[in-house]
Protein backbone atom coordinates (compact mmCIF):
# COMPACT_ATOMS: atom_id res chain seq x y z
CA UNK A 1 0.00 0.00 0.00
CA UNK A 2 2.74 2.46 0.90
CA UNK A 3 4.52 1.41 -2.26
CA UNK A 4 1.40 2.13 -4.26
CA UNK A 5 1.05 5.62 -2.83
CA UNK A 6 4.65 6.28 -3.69
CA UNK A 7 4.23 4.91 -7.22
CA UNK A 8 1.13 6.94 -7.90
CA UNK A 9 2.88 10.07 -6.69
CA UNK A 10 5.90 9.27 -8.83
CA UNK A 11 3.75 8.63 -11.91
CA UNK A 12 1.85 11.87 -11.42
CA UNK A 13 4.94 13.97 -10.88
CA UNK A 14 6.34 12.63 -14.14
CA UNK A 15 3.09 13.19 -16.00
CA UNK A 16 2.68 16.77 -14.83
CA UNK A 17 4.32 19.72 -16.52
CA UNK A 18 4.07 21.79 -13.40
CA UNK A 19 5.18 21.27 -9.84
CA UNK A 20 2.59 19.53 -7.67
CA UNK A 21 1.93 20.58 -4.10
CA UNK A 22 1.29 18.12 -1.31
CA UNK A 23 -2.39 19.06 -1.39
CA UNK A 24 -2.55 18.43 -5.12
CA UNK A 25 -0.86 15.08 -4.64
CA UNK A 26 -3.36 14.16 -1.94
CA UNK A 27 -6.24 15.07 -4.22
CA UNK A 28 -5.19 12.33 -6.64
CA UNK A 29 -6.65 9.85 -4.21
CA UNK A 30 -10.30 9.37 -3.54
CA UNK A 31 -11.79 9.89 -0.13
CA UNK A 32 -11.11 6.65 1.69
CA UNK A 33 -7.69 6.21 0.08
CA UNK A 34 -6.50 9.74 0.65
CA UNK A 35 -3.17 9.58 2.46
CA UNK A 36 -2.49 12.19 5.09
CA UNK A 37 0.14 14.88 4.61
CA UNK A 38 2.81 12.93 6.40
CA UNK A 39 2.47 9.87 4.28
CA UNK A 40 2.79 12.00 1.17
CA UNK A 41 5.84 13.68 2.63
CA UNK A 42 7.33 10.30 3.49
CA UNK A 43 6.75 9.04 -0.02
CA UNK A 44 8.39 12.18 -1.43
CA UNK A 45 11.34 11.62 0.86
CA UNK A 46 11.73 8.04 -0.35
CA UNK A 47 11.55 9.20 -3.97
CA UNK A 48 14.16 11.85 -3.32
CA UNK A 49 16.51 9.16 -2.02
CA UNK A 50 15.74 6.76 -4.84
CA UNK A 51 16.71 9.33 -7.44
CA UNK A 52 19.72 10.76 -5.67
CA UNK A 53 22.08 8.60 -7.74
CA UNK A 54 20.26 9.13 -11.03
CA UNK A 55 20.49 11.86 -13.62
CA UNK A 56 17.28 13.50 -12.49
CA UNK A 57 16.22 14.76 -9.10
CA UNK A 58 13.07 15.54 -7.19
CA UNK A 59 13.15 19.18 -6.10
CA UNK A 60 10.82 21.43 -4.20
CA UNK A 61 10.00 24.87 -5.59
CA UNK A 62 7.46 27.46 -4.54
CA UNK A 63 4.44 25.65 -5.93
CA UNK A 64 5.44 22.13 -5.10
CA UNK A 65 7.55 19.20 -6.19
CA UNK A 66 8.85 18.38 -9.61
CA UNK A 67 11.34 16.12 -11.25
CA UNK A 68 14.06 17.92 -13.11
CA UNK A 69 17.26 17.02 -14.88
CA UNK A 70 20.30 17.59 -12.69
CA UNK A 71 22.03 20.72 -13.87
CA UNK A 72 25.29 18.89 -14.57
CA UNK A 73 23.60 17.34 -17.59
CA UNK A 74 22.30 20.63 -19.00
CA UNK A 75 25.11 20.84 -21.55
CA UNK A 76 23.96 17.67 -23.27
CA UNK A 77 20.27 18.17 -22.79
CA UNK A 78 20.43 21.69 -24.20
CA UNK A 79 21.51 20.16 -27.52
CA UNK A 80 18.02 18.76 -27.89
CA UNK A 81 16.80 22.26 -28.59
CA UNK A 82 17.98 24.31 -31.48
CA UNK A 83 16.54 27.31 -29.76
CA UNK A 84 19.14 28.98 -27.60
CA UNK A 85 17.96 30.02 -24.17
CA UNK A 86 16.84 33.64 -24.17
CA UNK A 87 19.28 36.21 -22.88
CA UNK A 88 17.51 38.88 -20.97
CA UNK A 89 18.56 42.49 -21.22
CA UNK A 90 20.08 44.28 -18.27
CA UNK A 91 17.13 46.64 -18.24
CA UNK A 92 14.76 43.72 -17.84
CA UNK A 93 16.84 42.03 -15.18
CA UNK A 94 17.21 45.24 -13.20
CA UNK A 95 13.48 45.83 -13.34
CA UNK A 96 12.84 42.27 -12.26
CA UNK A 97 15.34 42.59 -9.42
CA UNK A 98 13.68 45.75 -8.13
CA UNK A 99 10.26 44.13 -8.23
CA UNK A 100 11.57 40.97 -6.57
CA UNK A 101 13.24 42.78 -3.69
CA UNK A 102 11.00 45.81 -3.27
CA UNK A 103 7.59 44.38 -4.00
CA UNK A 104 4.94 45.48 -4.23
CA UNK A 105 6.38 48.27 -6.37
CA UNK A 106 4.90 50.76 -8.79
CA UNK A 107 6.46 51.58 -12.10
CA UNK A 108 7.35 55.02 -10.74
CA UNK A 109 9.26 53.46 -7.87
CA UNK A 110 11.19 51.28 -10.27
CA UNK A 111 12.00 54.32 -12.39
CA UNK A 112 13.18 56.25 -9.35
CA UNK A 113 15.71 53.59 -8.53
CA UNK A 114 16.90 52.99 -12.08
CA UNK A 115 16.91 56.66 -13.01
CA UNK A 116 15.30 55.97 -16.38
CA UNK A 117 11.86 55.28 -17.71
CA UNK A 118 10.86 51.64 -17.71
CA UNK A 119 9.75 50.61 -21.14
CA UNK A 120 6.28 49.21 -21.61
CA UNK A 121 7.85 46.30 -23.42
CA UNK A 122 9.76 45.22 -20.38
CA UNK A 123 6.71 45.26 -18.17
CA UNK A 124 4.84 43.38 -20.84
CA UNK A 125 7.52 40.74 -21.24
CA UNK A 126 7.74 40.24 -17.50
CA UNK A 127 4.01 39.78 -17.28
CA UNK A 128 3.85 37.59 -20.32
CA UNK A 129 6.52 35.37 -18.86
CA UNK A 130 4.29 35.33 -15.79
CA UNK A 131 7.16 36.34 -13.58
CA UNK A 132 5.42 39.52 -12.53
CA UNK A 133 1.81 40.47 -12.07
CA UNK A 134 -0.31 43.34 -10.92
CA UNK A 135 -1.54 42.67 -7.42
CA UNK A 136 -3.39 45.92 -6.83
CA UNK A 137 -3.21 49.65 -7.16
CA UNK A 138 -1.54 52.18 -4.96
CA UNK A 139 -3.99 54.65 -3.50
CA UNK A 140 -2.25 57.75 -4.75
CA UNK A 141 -3.26 60.00 -7.63
CA UNK A 142 -3.34 57.98 -10.83
CA UNK A 143 -3.74 54.74 -8.86
CA UNK A 144 -0.60 53.21 -10.33
CA UNK A 145 -0.46 49.42 -10.58
CA UNK A 146 1.51 47.57 -7.93
CA UNK A 147 3.71 44.83 -9.31
CA UNK A 148 4.84 41.72 -7.50
CA UNK A 149 6.59 38.54 -8.51
CA UNK A 150 4.61 35.35 -8.97
CA UNK A 151 4.95 31.77 -7.90
CA UNK A 152 5.94 30.97 -11.47
CA UNK A 153 8.90 33.30 -11.05
CA UNK A 154 10.04 31.32 -8.02
CA UNK A 155 9.42 28.04 -9.82
CA UNK A 156 11.37 29.20 -12.82
CA UNK A 157 14.37 30.09 -10.72
CA UNK A 158 14.19 27.01 -8.52
CA UNK A 159 13.26 28.96 -5.43
CA UNK A 160 10.93 27.95 -2.66
CA UNK A 161 10.34 31.47 -1.45
CA UNK A 162 11.66 34.97 -1.89
CA UNK A 163 13.84 34.45 1.17
CA UNK A 164 15.94 32.12 -1.02
CA UNK A 165 16.97 35.01 -3.27
CA UNK A 166 20.59 36.04 -2.91
CA UNK A 167 20.71 38.73 -0.24
CA UNK A 168 20.62 42.32 -1.37
CA UNK A 169 23.79 44.30 -0.73
CA UNK A 170 23.73 46.67 2.19
CA UNK A 171 23.51 50.40 1.84
CA UNK A 172 26.62 51.95 3.35
CA UNK A 173 26.62 54.98 5.58
CA UNK A 174 27.54 58.04 3.69
CA UNK A 175 30.50 59.63 5.32
CA UNK A 176 31.55 62.59 3.27
CA UNK A 177 34.68 64.56 3.71
CA UNK A 178 33.70 68.11 2.85
CA UNK A 179 37.08 68.84 1.36
CA UNK A 180 37.46 65.76 -0.73
CA UNK A 181 36.49 67.53 -3.88
CA UNK A 182 39.20 70.07 -3.50
CA UNK A 183 41.79 67.43 -2.72
CA UNK A 184 40.87 65.41 -5.75
CA UNK A 185 40.96 68.47 -7.87
CA UNK A 186 44.51 69.09 -6.89
CA UNK A 187 45.47 65.81 -8.40
CA UNK A 188 45.22 63.42 -5.51
CA UNK A 189 46.79 60.28 -6.84
CA UNK A 190 45.61 57.91 -4.17
CA UNK A 191 41.93 57.48 -4.77
CA UNK A 192 40.20 55.22 -2.35
CA UNK A 193 38.51 52.24 -3.80
CA UNK A 194 36.02 50.96 -1.30
CA UNK A 195 33.19 49.08 -2.79
CA UNK A 196 30.05 48.08 -1.06
CA UNK A 197 31.26 45.50 1.40
CA UNK A 198 30.57 42.05 0.04
CA UNK A 199 30.52 40.35 3.40
CA UNK A 200 28.00 42.54 5.02
CA UNK A 201 24.88 41.58 3.31
CA UNK A 202 21.39 42.00 4.36
CA UNK A 203 18.91 39.19 4.58
CA UNK A 204 15.43 40.31 3.80
CA UNK A 205 13.89 41.06 7.14
CA UNK A 206 11.60 38.54 8.72
CA UNK A 207 8.68 40.90 8.46
CA UNK A 208 9.38 41.61 4.85
CA UNK A 209 9.52 38.04 3.68
CA UNK A 210 6.37 37.25 5.59
CA UNK A 211 4.55 40.02 3.88
CA UNK A 212 5.73 38.83 0.56
CA UNK A 213 4.77 35.28 1.12
CA UNK A 214 1.26 36.24 1.94
CA UNK A 215 0.99 38.10 -1.29
CA UNK A 216 2.35 35.09 -3.09
CA UNK A 217 -0.27 32.67 -1.87
CA UNK A 218 -3.11 34.94 -2.89
CA UNK A 219 -5.24 32.96 -5.35
CA UNK A 220 -5.14 34.03 -8.93
Amino acid sequence: MEKEIKDIIEASLFASNEPLSITELQSLFLLEDKPDKHRVQDALGVLQDEYSEKSIELVETASGFRFQVKSKYSTWVARLWEEKPVKYSRALLETLAIIAYQQPATRGEIEDIRGVAVSTNIMRTLQEREWVRVIGHKEVPGRPALYATTRQFLDYFNLQSLADLPPLANLMDINLTPTSDIQLNLGDDSPTNIDVNEDEKERPTEQHSQNIQQVETEPT
Binding site: Q68, E94, I174, S180, D181, L184
Partner: protein
Protein backbone atom coordinates in the same frame (compact mmCIF):
# COMPACT_ATOMS: atom_id res chain seq x y z
CA UNK B 1 37.92 73.02 -13.94
CA UNK B 2 40.88 71.83 -15.89
CA UNK B 3 41.16 68.11 -15.85
CA UNK B 4 44.30 66.56 -14.51
CA UNK B 5 46.40 65.34 -17.41
CA UNK B 6 47.56 62.15 -15.73
CA UNK B 7 44.09 60.93 -15.06
CA UNK B 8 42.39 61.03 -18.39
CA UNK B 9 39.42 58.90 -19.29
CA UNK B 10 39.52 57.36 -22.76
CA UNK B 11 36.83 59.68 -24.02
CA UNK B 12 38.92 62.74 -23.31
CA UNK B 13 41.57 61.55 -25.67
CA UNK B 14 41.37 63.03 -29.13
CA UNK B 15 39.23 60.98 -31.44
CA UNK B 16 41.89 61.10 -34.10
CA UNK B 17 45.15 62.73 -34.98
CA UNK B 18 45.22 64.44 -38.35
CA UNK B 19 48.55 65.93 -39.40
CA UNK B 20 49.56 65.68 -35.82
CA UNK B 21 46.62 67.76 -34.70
CA UNK B 22 44.13 66.20 -32.38
CA UNK B 23 40.52 66.09 -33.45
CA UNK B 24 38.04 66.24 -30.65
CA UNK B 25 34.89 66.58 -32.68
CA UNK B 26 33.44 64.10 -35.06
CA UNK B 27 33.02 65.81 -38.41
CA UNK B 28 29.40 66.00 -39.49
CA UNK B 29 30.11 64.44 -42.82
CA UNK B 30 31.96 61.48 -41.39
CA UNK B 31 31.05 58.69 -43.73
CA UNK B 32 31.66 55.68 -41.52
CA UNK B 33 29.26 55.82 -38.63
CA UNK B 34 31.07 55.44 -35.35
CA UNK B 35 29.12 52.28 -34.57
CA UNK B 36 31.48 51.02 -31.96
CA UNK B 37 31.23 54.17 -29.92
CA UNK B 38 27.50 54.24 -30.26
CA UNK B 39 27.17 50.68 -29.10
CA UNK B 40 29.41 51.50 -26.18
CA UNK B 41 27.28 54.46 -25.20
CA UNK B 42 24.09 52.53 -25.63
CA UNK B 43 25.18 49.94 -23.13
CA UNK B 44 24.43 52.36 -20.33
CA UNK B 45 21.15 51.78 -18.66
CA UNK B 46 20.66 55.44 -17.89
CA UNK B 47 22.37 58.35 -16.16
CA UNK B 48 23.00 56.49 -12.90
CA UNK B 49 24.62 53.65 -14.75
CA UNK B 50 26.82 56.07 -16.67
CA UNK B 51 27.80 57.83 -13.46
CA UNK B 52 28.71 54.56 -11.79
CA UNK B 53 30.87 53.73 -14.77
CA UNK B 54 32.66 57.07 -14.58
CA UNK B 55 33.19 56.68 -10.87
CA UNK B 56 34.60 53.16 -11.26
CA UNK B 57 36.73 54.28 -14.13
CA UNK B 58 38.26 56.95 -11.94
CA UNK B 59 38.77 54.55 -9.05
CA UNK B 60 36.66 56.84 -6.96
CA UNK B 61 34.75 55.77 -3.93
CA UNK B 62 31.02 55.89 -4.52
CA UNK B 63 30.66 57.17 -0.99
CA UNK B 64 32.90 60.12 -1.56
CA UNK B 65 32.84 61.21 -5.13
CA UNK B 66 34.39 64.27 -6.62
CA UNK B 67 31.40 66.02 -8.08
CA UNK B 68 33.53 68.46 -10.01
CA UNK B 69 35.35 65.80 -11.93
CA UNK B 70 32.37 63.57 -12.44
CA UNK B 71 30.23 66.44 -13.69
CA UNK B 72 32.76 67.38 -16.31
CA UNK B 73 33.08 63.87 -17.60
CA UNK B 74 29.38 63.27 -17.52
CA UNK B 75 28.73 66.37 -19.57
CA UNK B 76 31.37 65.35 -22.05
CA UNK B 77 29.62 62.03 -22.51
CA UNK B 78 26.23 63.51 -23.12
CA UNK B 79 27.67 66.06 -25.52
CA UNK B 80 29.15 63.18 -27.41
CA UNK B 81 25.84 61.41 -27.47
CA UNK B 82 24.29 64.53 -28.89
CA UNK B 83 27.01 64.83 -31.50
CA UNK B 84 26.28 61.31 -32.56
CA UNK B 85 22.65 62.33 -32.80
CA UNK B 86 21.72 59.59 -30.43
CA UNK B 87 18.31 59.85 -29.01
CA UNK B 88 19.16 61.26 -25.67
CA UNK B 89 16.71 60.37 -22.97
CA UNK B 90 15.56 63.35 -20.97
CA UNK B 91 16.84 61.66 -17.84
CA UNK B 92 20.41 62.32 -18.92
CA UNK B 93 19.74 66.03 -19.14
CA UNK B 94 17.97 66.09 -15.80
CA UNK B 95 20.99 64.43 -14.27
CA UNK B 96 23.30 66.96 -15.89
CA UNK B 97 21.27 69.75 -14.34
CA UNK B 98 21.37 68.04 -10.97
CA UNK B 99 25.13 67.63 -11.16
CA UNK B 100 25.57 71.24 -12.15
CA UNK B 101 23.51 72.29 -9.17
CA UNK B 102 25.51 70.18 -6.76
CA UNK B 103 28.71 71.48 -8.26
CA UNK B 104 27.67 75.07 -7.83
CA UNK B 105 26.76 74.42 -4.21
CA UNK B 106 30.09 72.80 -3.62
CA UNK B 107 31.89 75.79 -5.02
CA UNK B 108 30.16 78.29 -2.78
CA UNK B 109 32.31 79.24 0.15
CA UNK B 110 30.74 78.25 3.43
CA UNK B 111 31.65 78.44 7.04
CA UNK B 112 32.38 75.35 9.08
CA UNK B 113 29.09 75.72 10.95
CA UNK B 114 27.17 75.90 7.73
CA UNK B 115 28.89 72.78 6.54
CA UNK B 116 27.89 70.97 9.68
CA UNK B 117 24.30 72.09 9.60
CA UNK B 118 23.52 71.52 5.97
CA UNK B 119 23.51 68.20 4.37
CA UNK B 120 26.29 67.73 1.91
CA UNK B 121 24.78 68.44 -1.52
CA UNK B 122 26.25 65.18 -2.76
CA UNK B 123 24.42 63.05 -0.23
CA UNK B 124 21.23 62.61 -2.20
CA UNK B 125 23.11 61.68 -5.37
CA UNK B 126 25.23 59.18 -3.52
CA UNK B 127 22.18 57.61 -1.96
CA UNK B 128 20.66 57.13 -5.36
CA UNK B 129 23.85 55.72 -6.82
CA UNK B 130 24.18 53.26 -4.00
CA UNK B 131 20.57 52.25 -4.25
CA UNK B 132 20.91 51.71 -7.97
CA UNK B 133 24.14 49.81 -7.60
CA UNK B 134 22.68 47.29 -5.20
CA UNK B 135 19.90 46.46 -7.62
CA UNK B 136 22.33 46.32 -10.46
CA UNK B 137 24.15 43.66 -8.51
CA UNK B 138 20.92 41.93 -7.64
CA UNK B 139 20.11 41.81 -11.36
CA UNK B 140 23.45 40.12 -11.99
CA UNK B 141 22.75 37.66 -9.20
CA UNK B 142 19.35 36.84 -10.64
CA UNK B 143 20.85 36.33 -14.04
CA UNK B 144 23.35 33.87 -12.58
CA UNK B 145 20.74 31.89 -10.70
CA UNK B 146 19.98 28.53 -12.29
CA UNK B 147 16.84 28.79 -14.30
CA UNK B 148 14.52 26.62 -16.25
CA UNK B 149 15.38 25.78 -19.84
CA UNK B 150 18.86 27.13 -19.45
CA UNK B 151 20.27 25.27 -16.45
CA UNK B 152 17.40 23.06 -15.47
CA UNK B 153 15.03 21.02 -17.55
CA UNK B 154 11.83 19.39 -16.48
CA UNK B 155 11.90 15.63 -16.37
CA UNK B 156 8.58 14.38 -17.65
CA UNK B 157 7.19 11.15 -18.94
CA UNK B 158 4.56 10.84 -21.60
CA UNK B 159 1.13 9.98 -20.40
CA UNK B 160 -0.88 8.15 -22.98
CA UNK B 161 -4.39 9.45 -22.77
CA UNK B 162 -7.17 7.39 -24.13
CA UNK B 163 -9.98 7.63 -21.63
CA UNK B 164 -10.51 11.31 -21.08
CA UNK B 165 -10.06 14.20 -23.41
CA UNK B 166 -7.81 16.89 -22.20
CA UNK B 167 -9.76 20.13 -22.40
CA UNK B 168 -8.70 22.36 -25.27
CA UNK B 169 -7.01 25.56 -24.18
CA UNK B 170 -8.77 28.84 -24.72
CA UNK B 171 -6.94 31.57 -26.53
CA UNK B 172 -7.66 35.24 -26.76
CA UNK B 173 -7.02 37.13 -29.94
CA UNK B 174 -4.96 39.58 -27.94
CA UNK B 175 -2.62 36.82 -26.96
CA UNK B 176 -2.13 35.89 -30.61
CA UNK B 177 -1.51 39.51 -31.61
CA UNK B 178 0.84 40.00 -28.72
CA UNK B 179 2.80 36.96 -29.81
CA UNK B 180 3.03 38.43 -33.28
CA UNK B 181 4.22 41.77 -31.99
CA UNK B 182 7.06 39.94 -30.30
CA UNK B 183 7.86 38.18 -33.54
CA UNK B 184 7.90 41.47 -35.41
CA UNK B 185 10.12 43.04 -32.83
CA UNK B 186 12.55 40.16 -33.04
CA UNK B 187 12.39 40.10 -36.82
CA UNK B 188 13.19 43.81 -37.00
CA UNK B 189 16.62 43.02 -35.62
CA UNK B 190 17.39 40.77 -38.54
CA UNK B 191 17.10 42.54 -41.82
CA UNK B 192 17.07 39.24 -43.69
CA UNK B 193 13.65 38.38 -42.37
CA UNK B 194 11.60 40.62 -44.54
CA UNK B 195 7.97 40.42 -43.71
CA UNK B 196 5.57 41.07 -46.52
CA UNK B 197 3.12 43.82 -46.08
CA UNK B 198 0.37 42.99 -48.50
CA UNK B 199 -3.04 43.86 -47.17
CA UNK B 200 -4.46 40.90 -45.29
CA UNK B 201 -7.40 40.64 -47.61
CA UNK B 202 -4.98 39.84 -50.42
CA UNK B 203 -3.10 37.24 -48.44
CA UNK B 204 -6.34 35.65 -47.38
CA UNK B 205 -7.47 35.54 -50.99
CA UNK B 206 -4.14 34.01 -51.99
CA UNK B 207 -4.92 31.16 -49.62
CA UNK B 208 -8.37 30.76 -51.10
CA UNK B 209 -7.13 30.72 -54.68
CA UNK B 210 -4.57 28.08 -53.81
CA UNK B 211 -7.10 26.07 -51.86
CA UNK B 212 -9.47 26.20 -54.81
CA UNK B 213 -6.77 24.95 -57.15
CA UNK B 214 -5.78 22.30 -54.70
CA UNK B 215 -9.27 21.06 -53.91
CA UNK B 216 -10.26 20.95 -57.55
CA UNK B 217 -9.69 17.68 -59.33
CA UNK B 218 -8.76 19.43 -62.54
CA UNK B 219 -5.22 20.62 -62.83
CA UNK B 220 -6.23 23.82 -64.58
CA UNK B 221 -8.90 26.30 -63.70
CA UNK B 222 -10.11 28.98 -66.02
CA UNK B 223 -9.05 32.43 -64.92
CA UNK B 224 -12.59 33.73 -64.84
CA UNK B 225 -13.70 31.08 -62.38
CA UNK B 226 -11.85 32.84 -59.58
CA UNK B 227 -14.06 35.89 -59.91
CA UNK B 228 -17.63 36.24 -58.79
CA UNK B 229 -19.72 39.20 -59.76
CA UNK B 230 -21.40 39.33 -56.32
CA UNK B 231 -18.16 40.39 -54.71
CA UNK B 232 -18.23 43.61 -56.61
CA UNK B 233 -15.35 45.61 -57.85
CA UNK B 234 -13.37 45.42 -54.62
CA UNK B 235 -13.51 41.64 -54.55
CA UNK B 236 -12.36 41.40 -58.15
CA UNK B 237 -9.41 43.66 -57.46
CA UNK B 238 -8.40 41.66 -54.39
CA UNK B 239 -8.61 38.39 -56.32
CA UNK B 240 -6.62 39.85 -59.18
CA UNK B 241 -3.89 41.08 -56.84
CA UNK B 242 -3.84 37.71 -55.09
CA UNK B 243 -3.35 35.86 -58.38
CA UNK B 244 -0.57 38.21 -59.42
CA UNK B 245 1.15 37.82 -56.07
CA UNK B 246 0.88 34.02 -56.24
CA UNK B 247 2.37 34.14 -59.69
CA UNK B 248 5.18 36.38 -58.50
CA UNK B 249 5.94 34.05 -55.61
CA UNK B 250 6.10 31.16 -58.07
CA UNK B 251 3.17 29.36 -56.52
CA UNK B 252 0.98 29.31 -59.64
CA UNK B 253 1.30 29.66 -63.38
CA UNK B 254 -0.92 31.69 -65.61
CA UNK B 255 -1.04 30.24 -69.10
CA UNK B 256 -2.76 31.03 -72.34
CA UNK B 257 -2.75 28.82 -75.41
CA UNK B 258 -2.96 31.59 -77.96
CA UNK B 259 -3.97 35.20 -77.89
CA UNK B 260 -7.65 35.88 -77.34
CA UNK B 261 -8.14 32.37 -75.95
CA UNK B 262 -9.05 31.36 -72.39
CA UNK B 263 -6.53 32.15 -69.67
CA UNK B 264 -5.80 29.28 -67.31
CA UNK B 265 -4.45 29.21 -63.81
CA UNK B 266 -2.59 26.15 -62.65
CA UNK B 267 -0.33 25.15 -59.81
CA UNK B 268 3.31 25.11 -60.88
CA UNK B 269 3.98 21.82 -62.66
CA UNK B 270 5.48 19.07 -60.57
Amino acid sequence: MDSTPNNVVPIQQPLALVDGKPFQQLPDDLYIPPDALEVFLETFEGPLDLLLYLIKNQNMDVLNISVLKITEQYIEYIEMMQNLRMELAAEYLVMAAMLAEIKSKMLLPRTVEELEEEEDPRAELIRRLQEYERFKRAADDIDKMPRLYRDNFLATAEWVVDKIDKPLPDVELDAVLLAFQEVLKRAEKFSSHHIQREPLSVRERMSRVLAKLNDDSEAFLAFHRFFTAEEGRQGVVVTFLAILELCREGLIDIVQGESQSEVWVKPIAE
